[in-house]
């Protein structure tokens, strides 16, 4: 390797090294707000994704539940195992966010619990688990598509809880 080539070689890798330092600067934001990364402790290892690098939002591609979401509330209420209104002091919002894959299957469930002022709170475990189980049982998803290409997407359902009772279920 002659001297010129050696200098070019060193320069090239110096630039790459500087560039990688630059790109590895930690951002406080994920690649996309709301991304749910795989968690081996709670997520199914065999959950299939058409394209793991491109899970879009349900409203971008029209992912819905049966009857354009009309069946959502009924099916959840049917799936709920617990008697409502057990703990009268519980009020606030429980949001379940998850992935509907390109086959209409679901996984990567995450639960967000907030009080009536939208501040963090912990609801009674039985209520949260009952709601989560009911959502996991939903099996009539209509997978959204972009130009006939079906895609994986994120979905969310918010439960409004007033005095221990579910007052509304909203996509």
């Amino acid at each position: 390797m002659n001297r010129n080539y050696r200098i070019q070689f060193i320069l090239f890798f110096s630039i790459i090294a500087i560039a990688s330092c630059k790109t590895s600067e930690k951002s406080s934001f994920p690649e996309k707000i709301g991304d749910i990364d795989f968690d081996p402790l709670v997520d199914r290892k065999d959950f299939y994704l058409c394209d793991p690098s491109q899970i879009v939002q349900y409203y971008n591609i029209g992912t819905t539940y049966s009857d354009e979401h009309g069946g959502l509330e009924n099916d959840i209420l049917k799936n709920l195992q617990m008697k409502q209104g057990k703990n009268k002091s519980e009020s606030g919002f429980i949001t379940i966010r998850f992935v509907v894959n390109c086959k209409g299957e679901t996984d990567r469930f995450r639960v967000y619990e907030l009080d009536q002022s939208l501040q963090k709170k912990k609801f009674e475990t039985e209520l949260v688990n009952s709601i989560l189980t009911a959502v996991k049982k939903l099996d009539k998803w209509k997978v959204g598509a972009n130009k006939n290409e079906i895609m994986d997407s994120y979905f969310r359902i918010t439960f409004k809880i007033v005095n221990g009772e579910i007052k509304s279920i909203r996509p």
Binding site: I33, G34, H69, G70, L114, L118, Q119, R170
Partner: protein, 276 residues
């Protein structure tokens, strides 16, 4: 590359936000820079890292630049992270209540169904503004209609009707006209009050505003059913069912108030068929 292009197409509409006139801020001022950074941020997909970083930078340059906080809040709202949404939108509202309070109220109502917070905001907005309160984010609703619907959800039917009627009057007087769903909500409110004749009157007024809207015929069917005119009830439910596939409400984000689903119509038809 193809995937990137698809994503670009999917999210393209989101690039249109925040096109504002930065010349309103003095040249070289931090707020002018913040505004320009915000314009740059809006070129990236909403909620993407770059988009969020640039809006954060804009907010740091000029902490009183409310649009940066507002734009930072939006992806959290749409993706169900209401804790972070509230952190951001509260800052925006504190800086510019006249322009952002109504938006926060509409989002609380539509996305979270947080009727109490939404109503507090609507009432505060009403005390700040005189007359028309403005419109919800997609422009379908005079905010006063939503204020009325909040009263209704809290069981205050008379107050709800009063507010919805006022909104319709305002729309007529102030040039915006009657909103697409105003008479429908007024009719449903009367139906909830069991005043079927008034409900019928407003559903009839709703028809010329949106001729092929299946929900109107569904609610007319309920009026006829309440009056025990089952043949007319059935024909209206059938009309609603026929119109449904091409004309039903389909908000991409949320369930809208008084929205009718095909299963609601079919349930009514099936109950009529069973009782015959």
């Amino acid at each position: 590359m193809r995937n990137i292009l698809i994503l670009f197409v999917l999210l393209g509409f989101q690039f249109l936000d925040a096109q504002r006139n930065c010349n309103m801020y003095p040249e070289g001022s931090p707020c002018r820079e913040a505004c320009e950074t915000g314009s740059l941020a809006s070129r990236y997909p909403q909620g993407s890292r770059k988009n969020m970083e640039l809006y954060t930078k804009a907010a740091q340059k000029c902490p009183s630049f409310a649009p940066a906080w507002e734009q930072l809040s939006v992806p959290y709202l749409k993706r169900g992270d209401y804790l972070n949404w509230k952190l951001m939108i509260d800052k925006a509202v504190a800086l510019d209540p006249m322009n952002i309070l109504g938006y926060r109220a509409a989002c609380s109502y539509e996305f979270i169904h947080d009727v109490v917070s939404a109503l507090n905001d609507f009432e505060r907005l009403d005390s700040l503004k005189s007359g028309h309160l403005g419109y919800n984010p997609n422009g379908d609703y005079n905010l006063r209609i939503m204020k009325g619907l909040c009263y209704r959800d809290l069981g205050k039917l008379d107050k709800a009707i009063e507010e919805i009627r006022l909104a319709i009057e305002e729309g007529m007087k102030e040039g915006g006209g009657v909103g697409t769903y105003d008479y429908l909500h007024l009719g449903v409110s009367y139906l909830m009050k069991k005043d079927v004749d008034s409900a019928f009157q407003y559903f009839t007024l709703q028809i010329p505003l949106y001729k092929n809207f299946p929900d109107t015929y569904y609610y007319l069917g309920l009026c006829y059913k309440a009056k025990n005119q089952m043949d007319l009830a059935k024909s209206n439910f059938e009309k609603a069912k026929a119109l449904y596939p091409k004309n039903h409400r389909k908000d991409p984000y949320v369930h809208m108030p008084d929205q009718v689903y095909l299963s609601d119509i079919e349930e009514e038809l099936s109950s009529l068929n069973t009782s015959n």
